[in-house]
C-alpha cells in the first residue's frame, strides 16, 4: 500500500468518503437556506432549529405512534414544512420588505425560542433513535467499513439535491419562482399568486431542513442544540457557495465536507475551523461567493 503525505492511502480514501457523507448533510441544509434566500431574500436563522425539529419529530412519531423511519421521511418534512408556512404567514411576510437584518434577527429569535422550548421539555441530553432495520450493518469496501446507512445518506441526499436544482432551474414552476424573485409586481400582473408561491417556497425550504433532520436522527445525537451546532457551519457553506445559488450550495456542501474530512486526518484539532478559514479567504477573493452572481 502506498502513502500520501505520510498517511496510508487506505485511510485517505476512507476519509474522502466520510467527508462526502458529511458533505451531504451540509448540502441538504445549505440547499434549503439557498432556496429561501434566493426566493424570499430572507436569511433564515431558524433553519438549524427546523433541522432539530425534524429529528425530534421523527423521534416523537416513533415513540408515540410507532411510525418508522421510512414513513417519517415523508411525514416529517410535511409537518415541519407546514409549521414553517405558519411562521412565514405570521411573522416573516411582515418583514420581507424591510432590510435583511430584520428577518435575520426575527428568525434568530425564533430559533432561540424553539430551542429553549425543546430543552425545557426534553432536557439537553438528547433522545435515542436507531438506524432502521433494513439499513443496519455495512460492507467492507477494502479500504474502509462503510455502514449501509451512510451509503443511503449519500445517495438519497444527492437525489434530493439534484431534484431540487432541476425543479428550480429547469421547470416552468421554477421559472415562475425565479421571475417572481426578479420582479414580483410584473409576475403578479400575469395572474400568478406570488405571495402564495413565496409561502410555499419557504415551506419547501423548511421541509428540506426537516428532511435532513430525519436523516441525521439515527447517527447524530438528537438533542435540542443539534441544530445550533451545525447551522453556523452551514451558513459558512452558503456564504462560500454564494448566497442564493442553488448549484453553488450543493457543490460547496459536498466539497467542504471532503475538505473537513481531510483536515480530520492531517490536523484534527483544526477540523471545525477549517471551513471558516476558507470562508474568510473566499470572501476576500470573491465577495459574492464561488458561484454567486455579483449584486
Amino acid at each position: 500500500m502506498f502513502e500520501i503525505f505520510g498517511i496510508p492511502s487506505q485511510a485517505l480514501f476512507g476519509q474522502l468518503l466520510l467527508g462526502l457523507i458529511n458533505g451531504s448533510f451540509y448540502a441538504l441544509l445549505s440547499l434549503g437556506l439557498a432556496v429561501i434566500f434566493g426566493m424570499l431574500n430572507i436569511i433564515n436563522f431558524t433553519h438549524g432549529a427546523q433541522y432539530m425539529m425534524g429529528a425530534f419529530c421523527a423521534y416523537l412519531l416513533l415513540q408515540y405512534f410507532g411510525i418508522n423511519y421510512w414513513a417519517a421521511l415523508v411525514i416529517v418534512p410535511i409537518v415541519i414544512g407546514v409549521l414553517g408556512i405558519l411562521i412565514e404567514r405570521l411573522f416573516l411576510q411582515h418583514v420581507s420588505k424591510l432590510d435583511h437584518l430584520y428577518g435575520l434577527i426575527l428568525t434568530f429569535g425564533l430559533a432561540l425560542i424553539i430551542e429553549g422550548l425543546f430543552r425545557n421539555y426534553y432536557g439537553s441530553s438528547g433522545q435515542p433513535y436507531q438506524v432502521p432495520e433494513a439499513l443496519q450493518g455495512g460492507r467492507n469496501l477494502g479500504f474502509m467499513f462503510l455502514p449501509n446507512y451512510r451509503a443511503w445518506v449519500i445517495a438519497f441526499s444527492l437525489l434530493i439535491c439534484l431534484a431540487t436544482w432541476f425543479a428550480i432551474e429547469r421547470t416552468r414552476l421554477g421559472s415562475y419562482l425565479r421571475a417572481a424573485t426578479e420582479n414580483p409586481t410584473l409576475v403578479r400582473a400575469f395572474g400568478i399568486n406570488v405571495p402564495r408561491m413565496v409561502t410555499l417556497t419557504y415551506g419547501f425550504g423548511v421541509g428540506l431542513a426537516a428532511l435532513a433532520g430525519v436523516m441525521a436522527a439515527p447517527i447524530y445525537n438528537v438533542s435540542p442544540q443539534m441544530g445550533s451546532d451545525l447551522i453556523i457551519v452551514v451558513f459558512a457553506v452558503v456564504v462560500i457557495g454564494g448566497m442564493g445559488s442553488i448549484m453553488g450550495a450543493i457543490i460547496t456542501g459536498f466539497v467542504l465536507g471532503i475538505v473537513e474530512g481531510l483536515t480530520k486526518v492531517f490536523f484534527p484539532e483544526a477540523s471545525n475551523t477549517v471551513i471558516f478559514v476558507i470562508m474568510v479567504i473566499v470572501l476576500l477573493v470573491r465577495p459574492a461567493g464561488m458561484f454567486g452572481r455579483t449584486a
Binding site: 429553549g116 432536557g123 435515542p128 450493518g137 480530520k264 484539532e269
Partner: protein, 401 residues
C-alpha cells in the same frame, strides 16, 4: 444615669443576640448550567435536590431558616465568578453548590476562599480541586477525574483490555482525563496505542472512529463528555466498532447519557459512578420523590451529591450555630462523619475530598432491562479507601504543609 444607660445597652445586646440564635438564616446558592450541554446532570435537578435536603433536614427544628437561590453560569468562568461575588457581597449567600464545568469550578473556588464562604462541589470533575488548587473552604463531594480514570481504567485493563486508543475532547478537561487514565493503564500493565484530539461539540466522529478502528486497540477510551460521548458511541455502533470486538470505555458517562443513547446503542458500556438511583430502597425512595418534579427523568450522581452535601453542610452549621465563618464550617464538616441515604456512611478528608465507595457498572442490554431507568448492572464495588486519589499524591499545599 450612666448606669441605666449601660444596663439598657447590655439588655439590648442580649436581646439581639437571642434573636440571632433563634433565627439563624442560612442562604444557599446553586450555581450550574441551566440551559445547555450539562443542564441534565445538574440544572433544575440540582435545585430540587437541594430543596429536598433542606426539607429533610427540617431547619425549623434546629432554629434555622434556609433559603435557596440559583443561577446559570453558562459554562463560563467569568460569568460564574461574577455571580458568586454578587451572591456573597449583595445577597449574603453562605454556600455555593454544584458548579459543573471544571474551569468554572476552579474560578469559583478562588472567590469562595477569598470571601471565606463554603463551596460544595458536586458537578465539576477536576481532581485539582483537592489537589494543587485545594482550599480550606471547599468540599469536593461526588466524583473526580482521578476516580473516573482509576475506576474504569483499572477494571478494564485487569479484565483483559490492555491496549487503548483515546478520543479526547480538545480542552483542559479532556486532556486531564486522558493523562490520568493513561497513567492508570500503564501502571496496570496496559499500553496506549494512540490518541486523537477532537474539537469540543463535534457532530461527526466517523473519521476519528476509523482511526481508532485502524489502531486495533481493544479499548477505545472516550475522554470527553455529554453530547460528544453520545455521538461517538452512537456512531461507533454504526461503524461496527463494538461488533468488531473493540470496546468503548466511557470515562465520564452519566445515566442521562445512557438514556439519551438508548440501551440498544449503549449496551455493554463500562463506566464508573458513585451513585445509581436503583442501588437500594433508600435511593429508590429518594428518586421517586425527586421525580415528582422531574417526571420521567433519572437523577445523575451529581444531583445526588448536591442533596448529600447540602444535608451534611446544614448539620455542620446547626452544630456550630453559625454559618458566617466558612473555614470553621468546613472544618466542622470534616470533623463529623457523613451519613445520608444516597452515599451511605463516609467522611471528608483533610484535603476536602469526600470519601465514599465507587461502583463499576456495565450498561444492560435491552433484554435485561425490566423497567424504565433499569440501565446498569454492578460489575464491581471499589472500596472507599481505593476509590479516590491517596492524599500523599495530592500535591495539596494545605495538607503537605
Amino acid at each position: 444615669m450612666r448606669l441605666i444607660a449601660t444596663l439598657a445597652l447590655a439588655a439590648t445586646a442580649a436581646l439581639t443576640s437571642a434573636a440571632h440564635a433563634e433565627d439563624l438564616t442560612v442562604k444557599l446558592g446553586v450555581l450550574n448550567d441551566m440551559s445547555s450541554l450539562y443542564a441534565d446532570i445538574g440544572g433544575q435537578g440540582s435545585v430540587i435536590a437541594a430543596k429536598m435536603a433542606v426539607e429533610d433536614f427540617n431547619p425549623a427544628a434546629h432554629g434555622m431558616k434556609v433559603e435557596i437561590v440559583s443561577a446559570d453560569h453558562l459554562n463560563k468562568p467569568d460569568v460564574g465568578s461574577n455571580i458568586v461575588r454578587q451572591w456573597f457581597d449583595v445577597d449574603h449567600v453562605d454556600a455555593v453548590l454544584d458548579v459543573p464545568t471544571s474551569s468554572v469550578a476552579l474560578a469559583v473556588n478562588e472567590v469562595v476562599r477569598e470571601k471565606n464562604k463554603v463551596f460544595l462541589v458536586s458537578g465539576a470533575a477536576t481532581s485539582d480541586l483537592t489537589g494543587a488548587k485545594c482550599s480550606p473552604n471547599t468540599v469536593h463531594w461526588t466524583y473526580d477525574t482521578w476516580m473516573l480514570a482509576n475506576g474504569t481504567g483499572k477494571a478494564l485493563v485487569k479484565s483483559g483490555g490492555d491496549t487503548w486508543f483515546f478520543l479526547t475532547a480538545d480542552y483542559a478537561f479532556g486532556h486531564a482525563l486522558e493523562r490520568d487514565t493513561t497513567a492508570v493503564v500503564l501502571a496496570n500493565g496496559g499500553r496506549v496505542l494512540g490518541s486523537v484530539a477532537h474539537p469540543l461539540n463535534t457532530q461527526d466522529f466517523s473519521s476519528f472512529l476509523l482511526q481508532a478502528q485502524a489502531s486495533k486497540a481493544k479499548i477505545i477510551g472516550l475522554a470527553n463528555a455529554g453530547g460528544d460521548t453520545d455521538n461517538a458511541i452512537k456512531q461507533g455502533a454504526e461503524f461496527g466498532i463494538t461488533a468488531g470486538g473493540q470496546h468503548f470505555a466511557g470515562l465520564l458517562v452519566f445515566i442521562t447519557d445512557v438514556q439519551a443513547l438508548g440501551l440498544k446503542t449503549a449496551q455493554g458500556l463500562v463506566l464508573t459512578e458513585t451513585f445509581y438511583w436503583d442501588m437500594n430502597d433508600a435511593t429508590r425512595a429518594w428518586t421517586k420523590r425527586w421525580q415528582v418534579e422531574r417526571p420521567g427523568k433519572f437523577p445523575a450522581m451529581t444531583v445526588a451529591g448536591v442533596y448529600a452535601a447540602t444535608m451534611h453542610y446544614l448539620k455542620a452549621v446547626a452544630a456550630l450555630k453559625s454559618a458566617t465563618d466558612g473555614k470553621a464550617v468546613v472544618a466542622k464538616m470534616k470533623d463529623m462523619p457523613t451519613d445520608d441515604p444516597l452515599f451511605g456512611k463516609g467522611y471528608i478528608r483533610a484535603d476536602g475530598r469526600k470519601i465514599h465507595p465507587a461502583y463499576l457498572f456495565e450498561v444492560k442490554t435491552p433484554e435485561e432491562s425490566k423497567y424504565p431507568g433499569d440501565d446498569y448492572k454492578l460489575r464491581a464495588t471499589i472500596p472507599a479507601e481505593e476509590a479516590f486519589r491517596p492524599m500523599k499524591d495530592d500535591n495539596c499545599p494545605m495538607v503537605t504543609n
